[in-house]
């Protein structure tokens, strides 16, 4: 079981009581910390209910006042059992489970955010991608007419040269905003060239 599988399994058994869960938690400090936090939340939810429950006299006084004002009418015959009737003493489990799921969602989101940020394109990533796709580009344009194929190849050569020159300029003057802009322009031109090649007509 890996971390993702453990986190998904916690929705069913939140105390990590299965053998698989226990084995993973034993060897994974991050998941052990998560299970501990979730257990704290579950325990706190129970205590909250007991601490804030008003005394029966309060409920009786409220009921009397509402009857006096005519706001309480005879209850209709229930078609379904009421919530408390259905859950009984375990009614506190529902909000506790809700809090557990929210905490799990927050934890998973925090884990995913660094991965998402790592995948956002950077100038360096675009540069590497631009170089790696030339073979795909040449394969794509192979089906064009010979004249268009030559023109695509020539434009690829020119745009690659412009990228190399712009990269050289950025290396010479890394704080020159215009140098960086010229590199970005060159990448965008290459991207446009690729789009045009991919967009060729198909009979």
């Amino acid at each position: 079981m890996n971390c993702v599988e453990l986190q998904q399994s916690l929705a069913n058994t939140e105390d990590a009581s299965t053998a698989e869960q226990r084995a993973h938690v034993k060897g994974c400090p991050a998941c052990a910390a998560l299970v501990k936090e979730l257990n704290v939340i579950v325990a706190a939810a129970g205590e909250l209910r007991e601490a804030d429950e008003p005394s029966p006299r309060v409920w009786n006084s409220i009921e009397a006042a509402l009857r006096q004002e005519g706001l309480i009418r005879p209850a209709p015959h229930p078609l379904e059992p009421s919530f408390s009737g259905r859950w009984g003493a375990f009614g506190w489990l529902v909000p506790a489970m809700a809090m557990l799921l929210i905490a799990l969602g927050i934890y998973l989101r925090r884990e995913q955010a660094p991965r998402e940020l790592a995948h956002q394109p950077t100038l360096a990533t675009s540069a590497a991608a631009a170089d790696l796709s030339d073979d795909d580009f040449l394969q794509e344009i192979a089906a064009n007419t010979p004249t268009m194929k030559v023109q695509y190849e020539e434009n690829l050569r020119r745009v690659n040269e412009s990228i190399r020159e712009a990269e050289g300029l950025v290396r010479e003057s890394p704080y020159d905003g215009e140098a960086r802009q010229s590199l970005l322009d060159a990448y965008q031109q290459k991207s446009m060239l690729f789009e045009m090649a991919m967009d060729r007509p198909l009979p």
Binding site: T145, M148, Q151, Y152, E154, N155, R158, V159, E161, S162, E165, A166, L169, D176, G177, E178, S182, D185, A186, Q188, Q189, M192, L193, M196, A197, D199, R200, P201, L202, P203
Partner: protein, 287 residues
Amino acid sequence: MFSARAAKLVTLGVVVAGTLIAETKKEYHFSVGAKAGISVNNPYGSISVKPSLNNTVVVDAVLHSDKVEVDNNQTGNRVDIQSHLLPGADADSGRVDYEIWVPADASITLHCSDGSLRAEKLHGDVTLEGAGAAVDVRDVSDGHVHVRTMNGAVNLDNIQNGHVEVNSLSGDVTMRSVTGPLVQVVSTSGRINYIGDFGNSGEYRLTSHSGDIEATIPEWTSADVSARSVRGEVHDDIPLQPKTHTWFPLDKGRAFAGTMGRVAMSSTVILRTFSGKIHLRKRPEKQ
């Protein structure tokens, strides 16, 4: 000899007739409302768009063979025209030439791989794209003009009061009387030639990595101009009030920056090239 000559003439006549027969003309009409959207995707051939006199889109298509057909579709206020290549089609047999009339406030999107794209006298947005297509846009006002081309020449004439964005890899870009809040041209190796006065406001950014940039402007232009060529040369025929502080080095012969005309109402002009030449020319008065 006579019979041989006659045979040749007959053969020629048959070939010409055959060509004419192979060409098919089709016409389509669509009723649209205000600010309609029209898109045409035509891999091979020309597309010419002009304004119509009413709220009707009229499409005249000349198909050069039976290896291509025209798919047309209208959804609400949007009309889509597509040249559908059939098996065996090539650049000649798949060619369709379109003449289209649209309401002047319509927005058009034209796509052509090899041919020509032309639009004139419109007030809506104009988007033209084609790898090898020559682009010609004239007399467009109050709409945005977007052009993307690989090596097709781009010609813009009398474009007013809209955003103009041109991306050309190696095609030359020529602009005459093009003004607006934003005029931006980016090219890898194409030449950029601007003839006009840069309006009295707006941002003009002309960039070519290795192509030359030439701007021919009247002496009374009001503009804040900066020009820079990293490895090439810059020339300035118009006296500018020089700026002493810029955020790039003002190497003599490689960069200049200054203002001309009325500073209170002036455009920002940015001319940039890596290895091309930049030349700011004075327009002769009687041009």
